[in-house]
């Protein structure tokens, strides 16, 4: 027994090293496997607060840009609204199953393989995991971790990101993935041969998805049949410039929650 103890004492630094390495590897594996229940995330007040205070400077520089974008969006919405009021009553508006929570992106990254963004809205403002995040121009990602005041977003530029989309023209569905190369180009998979994808076709968000249907995602820049000749390999250029995002909307799809409840009546979510 004494020998064992003295051996352990002699090797205590090595054992301590193995312990620390074990903890960090466990955290890494955990974050890769269940990337929605991560312990280590920037969705807390310390990191979020720091990012936010630095973001003020950044925001000031980009203010012109953001204002112009907002004006454009307002103009587009006004146009749509004038169209809308002709053939519907005001009551219809109340039944919209989506809720949009405005938020500001306070930490952006697009150069890594696993890009995680931080926004300045959290559980206090009604954000929960698995909500979609969009901008005026297109989609940004999906809410991953939620803190009290801040949340992290799994960007579309994350090698584990997978988003349900469809071709605007023919409604054929597929999944949007990222191969980790260009931050402007994502890949579209599982589009069947019959869809006859062409360059410049528009991709929008799909029917059964956390995003409202028909949010613009990007346009096809390359389409070719894969080796099996049954599916298309499609490259999609994002409408959103992921390097310059600024303000975003978090989408709360209330209808989706009901659908999920019907599908899994036992789960609490």
């Amino acid at each position: 027994m004494q020998q064992v103890i003295s051996y352990l004492l002699k090797k205590k630094n090595f054992l301590f090293f193995i312990l620390l390495l074990g903890i960090s590897l466990a955290l890494t594996i955990h974050s890769h496997r269940y990337h929605k229940s991560k312990f280590i995330s920037a969705a807390n007040d310390i990191t979020g607060g720091l990012y936010e205070s630095v973001n003020h400077v950044n925001e000031f520089i980009n203010l012109d840009n953001y204002n112009e974008r907002l004006l454009k969006e307002n103009a587009r919405l006004r146009k749509e609204l004038s169209n809308y009021s002709f053939h519907s009553t005001a009551n219809d508006l109340k039944e919209v199953p989506y809720e949009f929570i405005p938020a500001k992106l306070i930490e952006n990254s697009f150069h890594k393989k696993n890009n995680i963004l931080v926004i300045n809205k959290g559980a206090k403002h009604g954000v929960t995991t698995d909500m979609g995040v969009i901008t005026t121009n297109g989609i940004v990602g999906v809410i991953e971790n939620v803190g009290e005041n801040y949340s992290t977003v799994l960007s579309v530029l994350h090698i584990q990101s997978q988003i349900n989309v469809q071709l605007k023209k023919t409604n054929h569905i597929g999944s949007l993935l990222w191969n980790g190369e260009s931050p402007f180009i994502v890949q579209l998979e599982d589009i069947t041969k019959v869809a006859s994808v062409k360059v410049n076709d528009t991709i929008v968000t799909g029917n059964y998805s956390i995003f409202p249907q028909g949010i613009y995602v990007g346009k096809v820049i390359k389409a070719a049949l894969d080796q099996t000749q049954n599916y298309f390999d499609v490259e999609v250029e994002l409408f959103n410039d992921m390097s310059n995002i600024g303000y975003v909307y978090v989408v709360n799809n209330k209808a989706l929650k009901e659908v999920n409840q019907l599908l899994n009546p036992n789960s609490n979510e």
Partner: protein
């Protein structure tokens, strides 16, 4: 003694802040310099090994919080903290244990070797764990090479500037 501990903690915080707020934004292409490894590189040689390991681990972990990256930085930091004696021995010869090395006094080649060993191993572990996928191994190696060059150069510049000011 106490003053040294306080200074070390301040250095820790300073490096984390500098890394997150300044150097993470100094990308060249996709290559980010991770200058916070300076904390491990410059940690006093004659110090408790367990404390050194623990503080390196905590350094990595605090960056993981900022980058939402699981335990990737913590693992990389713990590994280079553990192998640092070997890197010291390789770069400065066996004598490093008996005399305190002043980084401003060793030859530039030895300094470059010491910095490079730790930075390359750190970056390699970091990028391999970050993608966690063997199909991205070429990307990880390429990223390790270029980011390491960038980090080592910046670290050398920082160390030179810092030691100059002191004299």
């Amino acid at each position: 003694m106490n003053k040294e501990v306080v200074l070390r903690i301040l250095f820790f915080i300073l490096l984390v802040l500098l890394q997150v707020l300044v150097f993470s934004n100094m990308r060249i292409g996709a290559y980010v310099p991770y200058i916070y490894v300076l904390f491990i590189i410059l940690f006093p040689i004659k110090s408790n090994r367990a404390i050194f390991l623990l503080s390196s681990f905590l350094l990595g972990l605090s960056l993981d919080f900022f980058f939402s990256s699981g335990g990737v930085h913590a693992a990389a930091c713990t590994i280079i903290a553990y192998i640092r004696p070997q890197a010291l021995k390789f770069s400065f010869g066996r004598s490093y244990e008996f005399q305190t090395i002043k980084l401003s006094k060793v030859s530039i080649a030895a300094k470059l070797a010491y910095f490079s060993i730790l930075v390359v191993i750190h970056h390699l572990v970091l990028f391999l764990l970050e993608t966690f996928n063997l199909s991205f191994i070429l990307f990880s190696l390429k990223n390790t090479l270029f980011s390491s060059i960038y980090t080592v150069l910046l670290c050398l510049v920082l160390v030179t500037l810092f030691s100059k000011r002191k004299e």
